[in-house]
Point group: C2
Chain length 420, copies 2
């Protein structure tokens, strides 16, 4: 049984007309000979409407009840899509996260998928019925409804693809695929025909918003092939494949940026063991995620410790650090929230030297000062002043020739390309 | 454990403000020392909005998927009410029909409650948590979501009251209680302080729309005491009690009417055994409910057979009968859909003679011709021309002195009055 997962986001099911279009897309896949499981988000705007309603009732609604309310959005769209499919003469059945069931961790609002029961879905698929599953939601061991966090429908789709050993997980979006850069900044940004899961992971964590990062993690961990496609245009989209399927490795795959971070520096920290845990312990206790950490080699056994946090946590982090500074004998704490992170991502970096050098030169030529640098095997990130973000992204996109097509491989259908 | 069920309809939860008002009402009952299970409908207009959405997708949506879509309405309100209760410092938990679970028959759109699992509810009540259950919905043996039909939240509430041996089931409505007649027709219609379940059953089936008829049947069958109250005004409402609790029995409790029926007459039917089943067999096969049936004693071994059906089934019934008429050797079929049924209901009829005589005299004095008569132990119904319905109802309400208060018993709290 060749199973294909097709996931459609809120903008693809925002109106009755769009739901009809989704039905036609699903029917095409069925007619291509596949068994199809559809994953849907709520109609565009609906989740926000429900959250607003909840906040009108209570400034801090309980997360359990918020999940009960929010999860109704997808329940409406799955029912409507089944009606559209049945109207066209196809057998279809909808299932909520609780009905599948999609077992998750207990944490409301950002639960993690732990197990998917395949029986109901497989027996429906075997009898030729299209299965339509509510994205974004599951059920925990208490039998309570949970949700997976913003963009969680992507995770539902990829997790279903892994559980059902699907040939491919198609994610339909309102863009044409994964781009080399944000097209609002780089007008000649190009749709990538291929990207590795590892690169996609780095791009997502660097600010690219095509897929929920946990969905990409899932795909990476379980080797699920993802195909990012447009809901509205018949384009070939982007294949997210495991690395060995790549025919050619360009140096750089894309440029990402993130303007949602803030930077904090503790000056003249005594350079002795245990200091880092004294600083980051209280930060972690406050549930604040730290992104980049840089510690410069200092003079006189003193060092400057700099790190970045989510911008919404900037004031909170400053407050916590002010308590710590005297305890660890440091001099002062300074911070800035007008910063941006620009990242270059590409598996080709491994075999191509000089990427970092080129990046620093290009930014210097534009007069952009680099405040922090962090590197991984397939990514280089720099922190610059926020006002330079567009200029920096454009200059790098151009310098690495990202608008030129490097590959010419055409897809010949999910099965032949993806079957592992 | 003294359990009280409190049910609020769509007009009582139509806005955030009204949900807050419901929370306050529930809290008052908790502070009175009761364990409370709340049953809610969807926000006013929401179920219709969802049905319209479904009909935009498909002219004949499958009932399974329609139930999936419709059942989201109550899921939103139960979550919101829990948030409001928690905001005020009370512990509360919401459950959908599937979560309780409320087991129903398989028929979508008008499923019947078969079994309610009490465990989750009781353990919550024992720990002092307010339980908020979605009305109108359940789950069938396939694990599919079902709905109970219009007004089904009343049935959910009464069924829960029966399953949990609740002291009372309070139904909050947008009226002050059960009235002696429709106040739009009879301005001096009076709120009844008491009515028997049997009378309520006859009133409901005669057109009074305070409670879903299946809820009344449930209350009658299981001896559940119901208290009909206003959501908006602090009035004493109507107690629906078992007959033995009545201190006094007025002759007549109320006047009901129904303008949703149509009348069909088969003329000159040969008066021999088996004719009735030949007529009503095909009618029943077409899922058409027959209300009144009158067969006059005829001459020459011939008789006229008249019956009423729901007005929406009038044309359909006529079509079916035209096929039957030649088969049974009858002469002709005539019908009218401009009729109305007026019913007098009251357990006092049993011991007071002359009610029917008075009724016929009053209608005759107003010049209203009676087309059909049907009686039960506690009800007399007549069919008249539709244009006379207001005149007839007003005249009867006045003739039987229904605007005058007959009882003066005050309720002293649900427990003392209702505990069986």
């Amino acid at each position: 049984m060749d199973i294909v997962i097709e996931k459609f986001g809120g903008s693809s099911v925002g109106t009755v007309e769009k739901i009809n279009r989704v039905a036609n897309r699903v029917i095409r896949t069925v007619e291509d000979g596949y068994r199809v499981v559809v994953v849907l988000s709520a109609m565009q705007g609906e989740t926000n409407r429900l959250i607003q309603l909840a906040h009108q009732v209570s400034p801090e609604p309980s997360t359990r009840e918020l999940d009960v309310v929010m999860s109704t959005g997808e329940q409406v769209t799955i029912g409507l899509l089944c009606m559209a499919l049945e109207r066209e003469g196809y057998s279809a059945r909808s299932y909520t996260g609780l009905q599948v069931p999609i077992q998750t961790s207990t944490m409301h609002g950002k639960a993690r998928v732990e197990h998917i029961d395949r029986d109901k879905i497989l027996s429906n698929l075997e009898s030729g019925t299209i299965v339509v599953v509510a994205g974004f939601q599951g059920v925990n061991t208490n039998g309570d409804i949970t949700t997976l966090g913003r963009g969680g429908s992507d995770t539902t789709a990829v997790a279903l693809a892994a559980a059902l050993s699907a040939s491919v997980c198609r994610i339909y979006t309102d863009v044409d695929g994964v781009l080399t850069a944000d097209p609002r900044i780089v007008p000649d940004a190009r749709v990538l025909s291929r990207i590795t899961a590892e690169e996609m992971l780095e791009l997502s964590s660097s600010g690219a918003k095509v897929l929920q990062i946990r969905a990409v993690e899932f795909a990476y961990k379980y080797g699920v092939p993802i195909h990012v496609l447009s809901s509205f245009r018949d384009v070939s989209g982007t294949l997210i494949t495991s690395e060995e399927n790549r025919m050619e490795q360009p140096k750089i795959t894309g440029v990402a940026y993130n303007v949602n971070e803030a930077k904090l520096t503790i000056k003249n920290v005594p350079d002795r063991p245990g200091i880092a845990s004294k600083v980051f312990g209280p930060i972690a206790d406050a549930q604040i995620n730290v992104d980049m950490i840089i510690q410069n080699v200092g003079s006189d056994n003193n060092t400057d410790l700099t790190f970045t946090v989510d911008r919404t946590e900037f004031q909170n982090s400053l407050r916590i650090l002010r308590d710590i500074v005297p305890q660890i004998g440091a001099q002062d704490i300074v911070g800035a929230d007008d910063i941006a992170k620009i990242s270059l991502v590409g598996v080709g970096m491994r075999s191509h030297s000089g990427v970092a050098t080129t990046m620093f030169r290009v930014l210097a030529e534009e007069g952009i000062n680099i405040q922090m640098i962090s590197t991984s095997e397939i990514k280089i990130s720099v922190i610059v002043e926020e006002k330079y973000v567009e200029l920096g992204v454009r200059a790098l996109h151009n310098a690495f020739g990202l608008s030129e097509e490097h590959e010419s491989i055409e897809e010949s259908g999910p099965q032949s390309l993806f079957r592992s």
